[in-house]
Symmetry: C3
Amino acid sequence: MPTPADTLARLRAAAPLVHNITNYVAMDVSANALLAVGASPLMAHALEEVADIVRIASALAVNIGTLEPAWVDAMQLAVDEAVRAGKPWVLDPVGVGATPYRNATAAALARRRPTVVRGNASEILALAGVAGAATKGVDSTRASSDAKETARTLARELGCVVAVTGAVDYVTDGTRTVAIANGHVMMTRVTALGCATTAIVAACLAVTRDPVDATAHALAIMGVAGEMAAEQAVGPGTLRLHLMDALYQLDDATLRARARISE
Amino acid sequence: MPTPADTLARLRAAAPLVHNITNYVAMDVSANALLAVGASPLMAHALEEVADIVRIASALAVNIGTLEPAWVDAMQLAVDEAVRAGKPWVLDPVGVGATPYRNATAAALARRRPTVVRGNASEILALAGVAGAATKGVDSTRASSDAKETARTLARELGCVVAVTGAVDYVTDGTRTVAIANGHVMMTRVTALGCATTAIVAACLAVTRDPVDATAHALAIMGVAGEMAAEQAVGPGTLRLHLMDALYQLDDATLRARARISE
Amino acid sequence: MPTPADTLARLRAAAPLVHNITNYVAMDVSANALLAVGASPLMAHALEEVADIVRIASALAVNIGTLEPAWVDAMQLAVDEAVRAGKPWVLDPVGVGATPYRNATAAALARRRPTVVRGNASEILALAGVAGAATKGVDSTRASSDAKETARTLARELGCVVAVTGAVDYVTDGTRTVAIANGHVMMTRVTALGCATTAIVAACLAVTRDPVDATAHALAIMGVAGEMAAEQAVGPGTLRLHLMDALYQLDDATLRARARISE
């Protein structure tokens, strides 16, 4: 079974092209996180080219944070092409639970065979239709452990891997569940780090076939880098700064020593 | 009368959801500033959901920086819903004075009963229709004191609070005028800090009812954080970095000691 | 013949308004780079105002990174107005070679008389129609020297200046070719620094009439600032941070001592 260090080494060797259809807030930090860790990011959303981009990319990340109809059309076209071409794709249902439009969009995308769905606890509960799961905007109001069982059910229902991120992250295909206990609470004070994590999940899926492993490795990479950054940070400004450096500097030995993945 | 420290404490306790319909340049720094200071940002602009978002948010910030017709429609829908629901909303008329389209859009929004209008001197003069007030793009060509009297007239005309920011900031409802003498000139070399300030005004309006006080407190918070950042900065890169940390670290004692608000 | 230090001094004295129609990923870093170096950035893309903005701006930068039809229409309107008004404009054909839509858009814009086209080697080769030049998304797969001769041919064909950036940058009008050997390889790990460079080229064109000189000076300014930043950086996070400070701090003596421009 490959380790996070194996995935990271392969990612850096391959520098996979990751196609992102993501929200405006997340674009800068997602592109920078992908470049820092060793992938090659591309943001493109025009109906005129998204299918072409999917065909040259190694993975696709779709994020509904600042959704609007034209972008949702492009997302659907891109994910259908990804499924057709056998490329992995990740859904980040940002803020699902907040509005009917967001709920309908997330549900429609989730039915289009994502490889992985990644969200916070509120989002995973809302996507699964759990009553009273409404998010507070895009920040979770629930602990990740509250959504662990729901994630398993949702994974079986959608036929994909579901990742709930939080103090502890859970990754499940409905049968096997892996917990990742890395990261730092100050990461919640930097915008779009969840979105950037989704982008890194896509990058790892491009180089590690098993989607539970690939997702767990991505979360460990982001979590360990976040811990390294937090050790040098006095606030969210320096946290984001050092996180970008840590994704770049992260080496095998550190990742092996610090990744806390348990089945 | 509440102090800036009272507003900051309430903001951090409540972590109000702030809905932003803002420009592409400002999204990252606005979301990060809101998270750093203790609020919960959400960016959403689709006609299909803006009214729903306003209903779950505690305040709305509308910024015309990278306006286009579809976004302006969403702004109008959102602000009308905010007025209907009694939620505070802030208008940032970025670059008004630069083009007829921008002038018409800013004027139409300003008539829709904003709680606060925040702009630089050129923008406030242009919004008030002062001849020869044309901005140089989005940067002011005038000192804030040049727009102080115009701000008072405009506040009475629009029936709202008007804030002119610059070396000294002025906040007025047309009768009462408060001056805030915080901040640092290097802040003008970091993009969208005015926009981020507008977002923090919205956050403060969510927790402090009087809009003159709430706005003055927001400007003092941003100004003091900017001064703290400038003490550690050697250029605009480090200024923005430390500003995010300072918004997070800012404590009661420092805010009380450094806020320079005068009636 | 003016030196890079002359151009920088004029830029800081004039603080030219630079109109950017650029991609979502690049907006923040481009605006910050322009402000740091001393220019006044403005981002605007609505058909309703782009021509008006061009008329008040000193230069225009057009970047197709996250293109879509409505934005391409605005780009065409803006560049036609720039040509009509005799304002310099720069084309950044991001990712040309990746999709037919991107190829058609870049080709159509390139025919509209840009003052300068700036791209990486893959992009310049693709724009020139060299077979097999397809880019890997937005990152170059080729060395800049591989595109040096193609750039000369393309410059003659388009009647403009072409800049190929990479380990060594080449700037040519088809007859005269200048090489700039500044910069640092870690700059490729920060998103949109090429786009920010394009924006600085536009700023320099606003103050230095000869487009080969202006472009070479812009590339030297960005390259020297990048080297200064790299000396303090341990990864792409700190590189971007210190780059913004270096653009602000860069002085005549340092620029004279470090700029490596050769005919």
